[in-house]
Symmetry: C2
Subunit: 320 residues, 2 copies
């Protein structure tokens, strides 16, 4: 948490094509922890944070279709409009290198201020974007989830994994989750998981030998090969995270005899963001909120995330 | 080569749905070397060999659409008809557990005896099937090759790799290959490769930093990570072999930030076999023959394959 401070800076005016938003809420992500390690003391000061929601209060030249007073949610992806195999060169995420959402106000391209879904509270809207977009691309664009598919989500608990569970259930899949925490497993069952197993158990036994059409992996080294072993022939594993370590050793022969697919995924395009919002509205899905902190208590919030104590998202409320 | 002998056995009669073929030629594959290691001295005697071509000489009950005297080529896949993500349970390849093609005659399901393409000699037809089908599924079904794509084939020389080169060029791709052998690299250029680099060089430098849409990997441990490094964001690597070792360590973070795809492939269905034959006929492609041995000289042939001296396929001619 070294180098993090909470202080006044000068108000920024929106340039052509930009809007300024008075933020009501913001959401904490693992990315914010990474940004802290990447930002050097010699770099210019930076406001971290990728997720947020609020009200448009100033509009730059040439911006159409958006009005002051409009309630908006922020798409944190900068420069990735149409869906594509990979983001274009120059793609960035709000909160590095440009200022982010842990602030009273933010200036960003008008296209990144999207109409807030009416069924979400400010807290729910504030924590949705980065995790829900990541989950959406991993599950739909990459994993091509279909009704009736068997889907395994190792390491339930984090923001993205919780969206994965909600989205997969809403899409009509049979969803199994793993967790080291009995409490998180119990919560996952309440959220609709068809089975929640202890990560330390023998997965094959705990799943009664059932094989998966799709595994969505964000745990990395600690579970990756256990995940691979659960695939049916021709099954798919989507990887978008590696919180327990990046390096995994796989057996190619087992992999190609199994005709498996390993697909990498990160974030998503503006087009997928719109699709995700439609899906969330259609199924009236709401993010699971773990805790809401006033922005001034950022240290406690970062600590809770760092220690992986949360189930669901950590939210900041931003003072008027 | 222990346990390999060349001797007379009793002629087998085709049962209902089967045909007997008088073989003219057969083709040697790496699979035949594997089979030798898998077949135990206590197992019943087995005729090895998956590839072959010949003339139908006896027809079992209920077989329609095929006549005695017809010139046929053998599809070595048993029990995988329609294209699918993975072969059905019970899928086997000719030559284990059932008798194979290194013989004067073979009995097998009538659907596995397919009309021989007219533009191929008996030698060419005899070595086509297993390698060309494997290459076809890897490149077309799995790799979804398109005109203009940049394709890298590490380890040119083996039977499948040579078909990959021919098929990819016929499909309109830009094709780069690697080899440790100067002679094989030269031969690949003659066959149409756009660039042939030394496997021991720095690939990035040797390819002038060009990134690949598709890499088709059958080398395994020795080249796998070099292959991954050559992918463009969102690019695909198809793996179907691991002759230098099965175990590879990959970095998941690099993989998912790159939005890469790793797809396993083996063999192919009867549907893909028909498509492959059509493609071969349309483009008048011919297998590259390394050497033709009389079947009685099987020991020399196995030795040549084991020592990876060949470029293209090793063929057996079968005495009348």
């Amino acid at each position: 948490m070294e180098g993090l401070t909470y202080r006044e800076i000068e108000e920024i005016q929106p340039k052509a094509g930009e809007v300024r938003i008075r933020l009501k809420t913001a959401g904490l992500n693992h990315r914010d922890l990474f940004v802290l390690t990447r930002h050097k003391p010699t770099d210019p000061p930076l406001i971290v944070g990728s997720d947020g929601a609020g009200v448009v209060e100033a509009i730059g030249e040439g911006v159409e279709g958006i009005q002051a007073g409009e309630e908006v949610i922020i798409n944190p992806g900068l420069g990735w409009q149409k869906n594509s195999e990979a983001p274009p060169v120059g793609f960035e995420i709000v909160g590095l290198p440009d200022h982010g959402t842990f602030a009273e106000k933010i200036v960003l391209p008008a296209e990144n201020a999207v109409r807030k879904p009416a069924h979400l509270t400010w807290e729910e809207a504030g924590v949705l974007s980065l995790a829900a977009l990541t989950a959406y691309r991993a599950l739909f664009t990459r994993g091509k989830i279909q009704k009736g598919m068997k889907v395994l989500i190792p390491g339930i608990g984090g923001g993205v994994a919780t969206f994965l569970l909600q989205f997969a259930k809403a899409a009509g899949a049979v969803v199994y989750v793993t967790s080291r925490s009995e409490e998180k497993a119990k919560k996952a069952l309440e959220l609709g998981a068809d089975k929640a197993i202890d990560s330390n158990e023998d997965w094959h036994k705990a799943l009664d030998g059932e094989k998966m059409d799709l595994v969505i992996e964000c745990v990395g080294a600690a579970t990756f090969n256990k995940s691979l072993e659960q695939l049916r022939p021709g099954g798919t594993i989507v990887t978008f995270g590696a919180s327990t370590g990046d390096e995994v050793t796989i057996n190619l022969r087992t992999f190609f005899y199994g005709q498996f697919n390993l697909l990498g995924s990160t974030m998503g395009s503006a087009e997928e963001y719109e699709e995700m919002l439609k899906f969330v509205e259609m199924h009236e899905l709401k993010p699971i909120i773990d805790t809401v902190y006033p922005l001034s208590e950022f240290e406690q919030a970062f600590k809770r995330l760092e220690e992986a104590e949360q189930l669901g998202k950590i939210c900041f409320s931003i003072p008027e």
